[in-house]
């Protein structure tokens, strides 16, 4: 996973503060070998954005980085490997405790034999 991004905003307000969220207890998922926190109900894409990760796929042709684009399941740009199943749409799939989430290269099938560490 390549790029880092966000936590809260500059004004101090965060989306959770704005909506007065009192989430159920967080759990962890593994993202390319690294443990990150996830909140119940959040999609894999939301979990990654919270951790500051905005790209998690290399395209089949040029290997260009991609992440969320449409946010609603239409564009298939956000494909990711969850628990060894490639081509899951990160913007639709909810995260579950203990999920093993991995960046996806190309068709998503080639890298399944590799070790997690390859993707750091």
């Amino acid at each position: 996973m390549r790029s880092r991004g966000v936590g809260g905003g500059p004004g101090g307000a965060t989306p959770q503060e704005l909506a007065r969220a009192h989430p159920e207890p967080a759990f962890t998922v593994t993202v390319d070998g690294r443990e990150i926190d996830a909140l119940p109900g959040q999609t894999v894409a939301a979990v990654l954005w919270t951790a500051g990760i905005t790209s998690w796929r290399g395209t089949r042709g040029s290997g260009a980085p991609r992440g969320v684009f449409c946010g609603i399941g239409v564009c298939f740009d956000c494909l990711i490997t969850v628990n060894d199943r490639p081509n899951q749409r990160a913007c639709l799939v909810p995260a579950h405790p203990g999920d093993t989430i991995r960046a996806q290269e190309g068709t998503g099938h080639d890298d399944l034999v590799h070790d997690d560490a390859d993707h750091d």
Partner: protein, 482 residues
């Protein structure tokens, strides 16, 4: 995935299958259920609400979700009425169902509605029904420009959807750009949630609004809504640039800056006006497109003279018997119009659907006269908005040859131009066959307007066999009818 769900596809029986639980589908389901119709409501989402009323995931425990919403009272009323009908068994809400095909004459039933289950979409189940309402809404149109495939460049409504549903932001420093009324609530929402919106870039000329002032004046509610968003933008000190466009996004692994330029009256970039704005996110959109795929495969007439939409009559009936459509699938017009169309469809369905236990009440247009007035007022208004918010006429000139236009198959603009200029392609189908543009995962949903603009050919019908990619195992297993 359990064995039972894969070997024996489940079958649920309904008078009416409503596909889409947004404003249109909910209004129709409620109106029909009020009149004794047994409704099964299917939606791809985990919760009802659609795009406009997208809810935070339950586990997030949001005590004030309305902070991210407009017209929350309307939502509460809808939600409570649905709950009452669900408790009484008149509405069954099937969440996490991605409908991939509506099959006419499914055994002894008029329709079989086939849906893939859950986010992993490996198993399918079927709802049988005497009537179907297509309330599938729409998705965003985003036209290509150099750098639009960089991570951190997101569809404007997509950023809004991630915010409403997951309470997350894509970055800290955001440029909101493109054209259309959706940009306003998106910019206001992102700013309220703590993002710094460093520029709001709208390509439309203010004069475009003045010309439609009379239409606006006739819609005080809309003016108030827009004024509310404008006040929010002002409060967050969001710099607004009108008659400007983002002409490029820059970065390597993620967007780091955009180039913004002024447009002349013809919609061309005014040379020398380009300047860079640093940002880590670009939320961009150029309007909305209707989901027409299920209607197309059912054989309903689609109007594709401009952006395609499902054609319906005064009662929201399509030209295929037993199939109604409402909301943005029948043309882009916002949530209030979707509610009105859904209500009218619900009345028509209750009257016309003569199921086993339905008596068949009279279709009385007087019942839906108020909704019909709202509908005609708002259709008029949306038509004016669509004209006012047209993307800049010469946007395709900014698309360099190396800009990827089809994101799935990574087809650059240069290849599309070669297909038309040198290989003689004159329609989109030929361009597609020559370049593979539109043949990837999204089946051309995202790139069709871009390819069509760069190629200079009209979009034409899409002809997708299924509304979702369907696993082969599911196709092999699908029953021929009960």
């Amino acid at each position: 995935m359990t064995t039972s769900s894969t070997t024996t596809p489940t079958m649920t029986r309904a008078d009416l299958a409503v596909i889409g639980a947004g404003p249109a589908g909910l209004a129709a389901a409620l109106t029909a259920a009020d009149r004794g119709v047994r409704v099964v409501l299917l939606d791809a989402g985990a919760q009802a609400g659609g795009q406009f009323y997208r809810q935070p995931a339950a586990g997030l425990g949001a005590r004030r979700p309305q902070a991210l919403h407009h017209a929350w009272g309307t939502w509460e009323a809808l939600r409570d009425r649905v709950a009452t009908h669900v408790a009484a068994g008149r509405i069954t809400h099937l969440a996490d169902r991605h409908v991939w095909f509506v099959e006419p004459e499914f055994g002894e039933f008029r329709f079989g509605v086939h849906a893939l289950l859950g986010p992993d979409q490996q198993a399918s189940e079927t709802v049988t029904a005497d009537g179907v309402l297509l309330a599938t809404g729409g998705y965003e149109k985003v036209l290509p420009f150099p750098g639009w495939t960089l991570p951190g460049v997101v569809a404007a409504g997509g950023a809004q959807a991630m915010l409403k549903g997951g309470l997350v932001l894509p970055g800290r420093t955001v440029v909101v750009a493109g054209t259309g009324p959706l940009l306003m609530p998106v910019a206001a929402g992102l700013a309220a949630a703590g993002a710094e919106v460093v520029a709001y870039v709208e390509s439309v000329r203010p004069a475009g609004f003045v010309r439609h002032a009379a239409t606006l004046a006739a819609h005080p509610g809309k003016v108030v809504e827009a004024a509310g968003y404008a006040a929010q933008l002002l409060r967050h000190k969001v710099p607004v640039l009108v008659r400007h466009a983002v002409v490029a996004a820059h970065g390597t692994d993620r967007v780091e800056a955009v180039t913004v330029a002024a447009l002349d009256t013809a919609g061309r970039v005014r040379p020398g006006t380009e300047r860079r704005i640093a940002c880590d996110t670009l939320a961009v959109g150029h309007g909305m497109l209707a989901h027409t795929d299920l209607a197309e495969s059912l054989g309903c007439t689609i109007d594709d003279t401009g952006d395609p939409f499902v054609v319906t009559d005064a009662e929201q009936r399509t030209d295929v018997d037993g199939v109604w459509a409402a909301g943005e699938a029948t043309g882009i017009g916002g949530a209030v119009l979707a509610l009105a169309e859904g209500e009218i469809a619900g009345y028509s369905i209750a009257a016309r659907l003569k199921g086993v236990h339905l008596q068949g009440v009279e279709a009385r247009p007087a019942d839906w006269a108020a909704a019909a007035r709202t509908r005609s007022r708002l259709r008029h208004f949306s038509a004016a908005l669509a004209t006012a918010y047209a993307p800049p006429a010469h946007w395709a000139e900014q698309v360099t040859d190396d800009t990827v236009v089809c994101r799935c198959e990574e087809v650059p603009a240069g290849a599309i131009r070669t297909a038309t200029a040198e290989l003689g392609a004159t329609d989109l189908r030929t361009v597609k066959l020559l370049t593979r543009a539109g043949m990837g995962w999204c089946q051309g949903r995202i790139c069709a307007p871009g390819v069509s603009g760069v190629a200079g050919c009209p979009p034409g019908p899409a002809k997708r066999p299924f509304a979702r990619p369907v696993p082969l195992e599911v196709l092999a297993r699908e029953p021929e009818g009960p």
